[in-house]
């Protein structure tokens, strides 16, 4: 059952800027949906439209089967929103602000107070709980935003670039939290950091210049590049590594490789089921005494796929006018990069 569905969602700002262009998007309940796109692609605008903070120029947003609007408080009651670089009332403290948020969600004092206390503790803001928000760093404000988005224990989380401005530890904790929350909640998270999306999301949409150029599972995204590759970190003498690379050429499943120092990127002939050829590669390494420090197979693929899709979209040129992506339920049908011809 879709929690979120948009149809032909379009947003123009005062006839000056086309922020979104006919976005058709569906997010199924229980999924962790990543919204990818370069800066200025329209991710934040899309999220604000989903929440009713902005009104679409054309098209519509349906949340939980009902149309979203600026006054649809009952729909936002079930959503937890974390804006990118959030701004909160500067004179309020985390306690007073979360208390207000709890009241807005209709929570009684008995439920509200323990909840805000546990959330403040969870996001590590206890020492700053009585300080005015205006004295907070970006990271602290983001953590407060995370707490606010969880205040009502929503079933659907919309987080806009949650790792922006966070230090490495904060970023790790946030991604861990997303992974954990993803087990019980539906999540939509936007980012331009591919590895974050790759790590926590099972489905992904890619926005480019206001257009949704891909919507589907992460696996389907990787498949769009039409090849599978792994990056292997090797350890051993230089001569040994050279010999290993020479022997790789004898494996028929490997169509190419490139070595950069200790890192070796290997491309397989098959696009699926790479376990068998990878197994043979590992056996070869063991046979030759080459130590393998790490194997990375996804990061590069996602980046490649993303860039491939952006380039493909650019390459379509004027024909993009007829390349509208049909409404897609991710994971249920195979996405078509660049969309499909509009039925006339």
């Amino acid at each position: 059952m879709p929690i979120l569905q948009t149809s032909n969602l379009t947003k123009l700002f005062g006839n000056r800027l086309i922020a979104l262009n006919g976005v058709n998007l569906t997010v199924e309940e229980g999924s962790v949906f990543g919204l990818l796109g370069p800066n200025g692609a329209g991710k934040t605008t899309l999220m604000k439209l989903l929440l009713g903070l902005q009104t679409p120029t054309a098209g519509k947003v349906e949340m939980f089967g009902q149309r979203m609007s600026p006054n649809a408080a009952h729909l936002r009651q079930r959503i937890g929103y974390l804006p990118t670089n959030p701004k909160f009332p500067p004179t309020m403290t985390p306690i007073t602000y979360l208390d207000l948020v709890g009241q807005l969600f209709g929570m009684g004092s008995e439920e509200r107070k323990p909840r805000l206390a546990s959330l403040i503790r969870a996001v590590d803001l206890l020492p700053a709980a009585s300080r005015p928000i205006k004295s907070f760093s970006t990271g602290m404000t983001t953590r407060l935003g995370i707490a606010a988005s969880l205040m009502n224990d929503p079933g659907f989380l919309i987080w806009d670039e949650p790792t922006a401005g966070l230090d490495p530890a904060g970023r790790k904790y946030t991604l861990d939290l997303l992974s954990e929350l993803g087990k019980t909640k539906t999540i939509m998270v936007s980012s331009h950091i591919l590895s974050d999306i790759d790590r926590v999301c099972d489905h992904v949409g890619i926005l480019h210049d206001g257009k949704l150029i891909f919507c589907g599972s992460v696996r389907a995204l990787k498949e769009t590049i039409g090849r599978n590759s792994v990056e292997i970190e090797l350890d051993g003498a230089e001569s040994l590594l050279d010999a290993f690379c020479l022997r790789l050429g004898s494996l028929t499943e490997i169509v190419g490789f490139e070595r950069k120092g200790a890192y070796l990127e290997v491309r397989f002939a098959v696009t699926e089921r790479i376990a068998a050829p990878l197994g043979r590669l590992l056996l070869l390494a063991a046979e030759m005494g080459v130590e393998i420090l790490s194997i990375s197979s996804t990061r590069g693929q996602t980046e490649d796929a993303f860039i491939h899709l952006l380039e493909a979209d650019q390459a379509h040129g004027f024909s993009r006018a007829y390349g509208a992506l049909p409404p897609t339920t991710h994971g249920l049908e195979r996405p078509v990069p660049g969309g499909t011809p509009r039925p006339e």
Binding site: F13, K48, L51, L53, Q54, T55, P70, N71, A72, A73, H74, R76, Q77, Y81, P83, P86, K87, F88, P89, P90, T91, T96, Y97, L100, V101, Q103, L104, F105, G106, G145, A148, N152
Partner: protein, 510 residues
């Protein structure tokens, strides 16, 4: 719950606002200094309470309007990002939010305004010459309060419309002050703050405050006619009447008798110089409802008729003294210039009567009205000369009501009526028709604008007995200044602007 939470949060935010704190401090200081100086001044020169309060309310509206504008205009535009991220992305509607903004600011601003005007109203009521009633006081405070609310609502509406706070703050005063001539031009003066400022004293002032209309004198008595019924207790206290002769000599009446039917007071036991004048000042006389006589009409100069030919007269400059030694000392002039004179001839009719010191009021009145020395102008039936009671106007006609039956020939002479507006522009009537039954004249063929008061002055019109109209009550002013027009003039736009702000805010992207 969301609405009350938002309301409380807004109140909390306002309480931490330095604009509000600064305003409170400045308001308290200016209120203290303005009120104390005004009240001190009113002891030197009596000032009507309506004037004091009107000055205060106008000052509040004009001086503090900028603060109110800042409070309103900065409410949305200064924090649109914060609103979006922290409030409206949660479970509340735009309507709830903007309503909380409006109500919290209205609560604070009106609260401050009511406390401020309440203090000023009490001080004016208590320490100045009160010419207001509770209802006029409330009406004045209500109307200015509505203007304050309109200002606030306009500020919030502009704040919703424009992202730039400075634009809203600068644009708002322009709109507010430029509006007056525009409203006047389109004939909607009641929407204009300038019109309210101009008419506020009239709104505050009790329209039924007693007025001293007419004074007639003999050498021994003085008859004062008032515009309405008086409180007998205050009216019959001789101490409430100060009489001052031409040379500064003070006279004190021994008796003051209130004639309820004629709403007049006869001061007896006097010994006034014939042919001279005496200035009468009425103080602390109230009407039945306790409203003091209007300071604007509590003083007049009365001419004492000259002695009849052949009768002995007192020289005006020498002052007067009782003959026969029977006049109580209180009736003698207390001025040094007058007290020395005691060689005058016997006083005329009135003087002789008063010399007994115990003339009943009815007799005194009768003596005054029948005195042959009275000029024709002051000898109408009952001793009260005809006067203009009131006038009512439309844009093309004006009706003047007289207190008694007038001479139709005089009354129907259009040249006898001067119709003018506050700027002095006159409006000649084409025709005048007298109605005997209602004692009124209908002047027609006029082209009046009723945005401003219309004043009619009647000249050379006599009653049926030939008495000319009172020079003290020969004019009347018609004004469409009514409280309900201002209530609607400011109240309806306040509601409309608030609704528009809500609609705009509901459609606005954040």
């Amino acid at each position: 719950m969301a609405s009350s939470a938002l309301f409380q949060a807004e109140l909390l935010a306002l309480s931490r606002s330095w604009v509000l704190r600064g305003w409170l401090i400045a308001l308290a200081l200016t209120e203290f200094f303005m009120l104390s100086s005004t009240l001190l001044q009113s002891h030197v020169k009596p000032t009507p309470a309506s004037g004091i309060l009107a000055a205060h309310l106008n000052g509040f509206l004009l001086v503090w309007s900028l603060v109110i504008i800042v409070l309103g205009a900065g409410s949305i535009s200064m924090e649109s990002d914060v609103i979006s991220d922290s409030i409206l992305s949660r479970a509340c509607t735009r309507t709830q939010y903007i309503a909380a903004k409006l109500l919290s600011r209205a609560f604070v601003v009106l609260g401050i305004y009511l406390i401020s005007s309440g203090i000023a109203g009490y001080c004016a009521w208590r320490f100045a010459s009160n010419d207001m009633t509770l209802s006029t006081l409330s009406a004045g405070i209500l109307v200015v309060g509505l203007a304050v609310l309109l200002l606030l609502a306009l500020g919030i509406a502009l704040s919703v419309l424009f992202n730039n706070t400075i634009f809203a703050v600068v644009g708002m005063p322009l709109l507010w002050y430029v509006a007056s001539p525009i409203f006047s031009f389109i004939g909607a003066d009641y929407l204009s703050p300038a019109s309210l400022t101009r008419n506020l004293p009239r709104i505050l002032k009790d329209p039924d405050a007693p007025l001293l209309l007419q004074g007639t004198a003999t050498t021994t008595s003085l008859t004062l006619a008032f515009s309405k019924s008086l409180d007998p207790q205050t009216a019959e206290d001789p101490a409430n009447y100060a009489l001052e002769g031409e040379n500064g000599a003070a006279y004190t009446a021994r008796t003051a008798v209130y004639d309820k039917t004629r709403t007049s007071v006869i001061l007896g036991g006097l010994y006034l110089p014939s042919g001279g004048t005496v200035k009468v000042m009425v103080r602390n006389v109230t009407d039945a409802g306790g409203v003091a006589i209007s300071p604007a009409a509590d003083t007049m100069t009365v001419t004492i008729p000259p002695a009849p030919p052949g009768a002995g007269t007192l020289p005006r400059s020498a002052g007067v003294a009782p003959t026969g030694g029977s006049l109580p000392s209180a009736a003698a002039p207390t001025s040094p210039g007058n007290s020395a004179g005691s060689t005058g001839s016997p006083a005329p009719v009135g003087g002789a009567s008063a010399s007994s010191g115990s003339l009943p009021s009815s007799r005194a009145s009768s003596a005054a009205s029948s005195s042959p020395t009275q000029p024709v102008a002051d000898t109408s039936a009952g001793g009260i000369v005809p006067r203009v009671v009131q006038c009512t106007a439309t844009t093309s006609s004006l009706k003047v009501d007289f207190s008694t039956e007038m001479d139709p020939k005089d009354a129907e002479t259009v040249e006898n009526y001067v119709i003018e507006n506050p700027t002095g522009q006159t409006h000649p009537a084409v025709a005048a028709v007298y109605n005997t039954a209602t004692h009124s004249v209908l002047l027609s063929g006029l082209h009046l604008s009723l945005d401003d008061p219309v004043k009619v002055t009647v000249r050379s019109v006599r009653d049926k007995n030939g008495s000319p109209i009172s020079s003290r009550a020969n004019s009347a002013v018609y004004s469409e200044v009514t409280v309900w027009k201002y209530v609607l003039g400011f109240g309806i736009p306040t509601l409309l602007v608030s609704l528009l702000a809500m609609v705009w805010f509901s459609r606005r992207d954040l």
